[in-house]
């Protein structure tokens, strides 16, 4: 027993280091995201409040530009409403909750977004986030007033898309370090593709509505072995420079999933 104490006394520094280091590495590499999301949702209310306070200040810098952008969007939406009224199309598939991004990163390998809407505003896990010209992410954890989303710039996120001209479906993944570009690797060789073609969302996942513009093709080449294209897509929206977004509440999602 005495020897044990002597041993501990002599080597406690290395043992303490090994213990804490392996704990952190375990938390980082663990595939069970349960512990992680537990810790994060517990602290989110506080970190969210700090980010919110800070973004309230920095928001003033972009006020004029944001205003212009929102006016433009408003005009577009008015014209859509009048079109729908003419056609008596009242079957709504999606509800939109306006929100503001209060923290965003684009340079990491796994990027996350914090927005200022939470459980109280009716946000639920798994809802999508979009702007007028692009998909931003999917909500991963919520607290009362804030929620966190997995950005589209995350090694784990993938969005189902379609190539508008040929109507081919595929999935968009973010793989490299450039926050303006993403890749599509599952459109077959026989499809007719050219530079500058538009990529839009298809409604398959029932998270995002159909026909949201996502990006344009900037380069492609035919993969030799698998008969699939390697396509590079440039995003339409600058992920580093967005503040106002919409959370999408898909009203028929549950029904579709139950099929």
């Amino acid at each position: 027993m005495r020897n044990l104490f002597l041993f501990l006394k002599k080597y406690y520094f290395i043992l303490l280091f090994l213990f804490i280091e392996s704990l952190s590495l375990y938390l980082y590499f663990s595939n069970h995201r349960y512990q992680k999301s537990k810790i994060l949702s517990f602290t989110q209310e506080y970190t969210g409040a700090i980010y919110n306070y800070y973004s309230n200040i920095s928001e003033y810098l972009n006020l004029k530009k944001e205003n212009k952008f929102l006016k433009k969007e408003n005009a577009k939406l008015y014209s859509m409403i009048s079109y729908e009224k003419e056609n008596n199309n009242t079957n709504h598939l999606y509800n939109y909750i306006p929100a503001r991004i209060i923290n965003n990163s684009v340079y990491k390998k796994d990027n996350f977004i914090v927005i200022n809407r939470g459980r109280i505003d009716g946000v639920k896990e798994g809802m999508g986030i979009m702007t007028d010209n692009g998909i931003i992410g999917i909500i991963s954890s919520i607290s009362n007033n804030y929620s966190k989303a997995i950005s589209i710039l995350n090694s784990k996120s993938s969005v189902s898309i379609k190539h508008v001209k040929s109507n081919q479906n595929g999935s968009l993944k973010w793989t490299n370090h450039n926050y303006m570009e993403a890749e599509i690797n599952d459109i077959p060789n026989h499809a007719n593709i050219s530079l500058g073609d538009t990529i839009q969302s298809n409604g398959f996942s029932s998270i995002f509505p159909e026909n949201i513009n996502i990006g344009t093709i900037i380069s492609y080449n035919k993969g030799n072995e698998n008969g699939l294209y390697n396509i590079k897509v440039k995003f339409l929206c600058d992920m580093n420079n967005i503040t106002n977004v919409y959370i999408i509440n898909s009203l028929h999602k549950k029904e579709i999933e139950e099929l």
């Binding site: 980082y28 990163s105 990491k108 390998k109 796994d110 450039n178 926050y179």
Partner: protein, 170 residues
Amino acid sequence: MKNLTKYLWLAPLFVLIQILLLNNVQFINYINPLVYLLLIITLPQDTVKWFIILYAFLIGILLDIFEGNIGLNSSSLVFIAFISTYVHKIMIPKNSIDIKDKLTLQTLGLKTFSVYAISIIFIHHLFLFSLENFSNSSILFLLLKVFLSTITTFIIILIFQLFAYKVKEK
């Protein structure tokens, strides 16, 4: 011990500086200055060893909570805290300073401080960025990022030190 309490309340301050300012001003993909390392670098040589480890873990976990990636910063900071006790022995000449002194630009002099600080910053950045880009990244990108970030972090830390120096002189 009085010194250590000061370090304790400096930790949240540096974390806030990091997440609110420095994480937003990275202008190129390659440069990501991490100034909170200053706290680990300047800890006096006679600091209780368990304090160094737990202190590094505290800073790391605070950063992780804000950045939403539990374990990344804490593991690299705990690692550098462990390594730093050995780097002290190699880099800092014996009897050149009092072991109770903080390891600053003022006490060590520019030459020793630069060598010591750069080696700690470099090891930390190498560990952190290779952990972050574990699977999908080219080695060239990784090394370039580590190299450029090390320089930027060191310059910002020097500026912080010069400010502290001036305030003390007054």
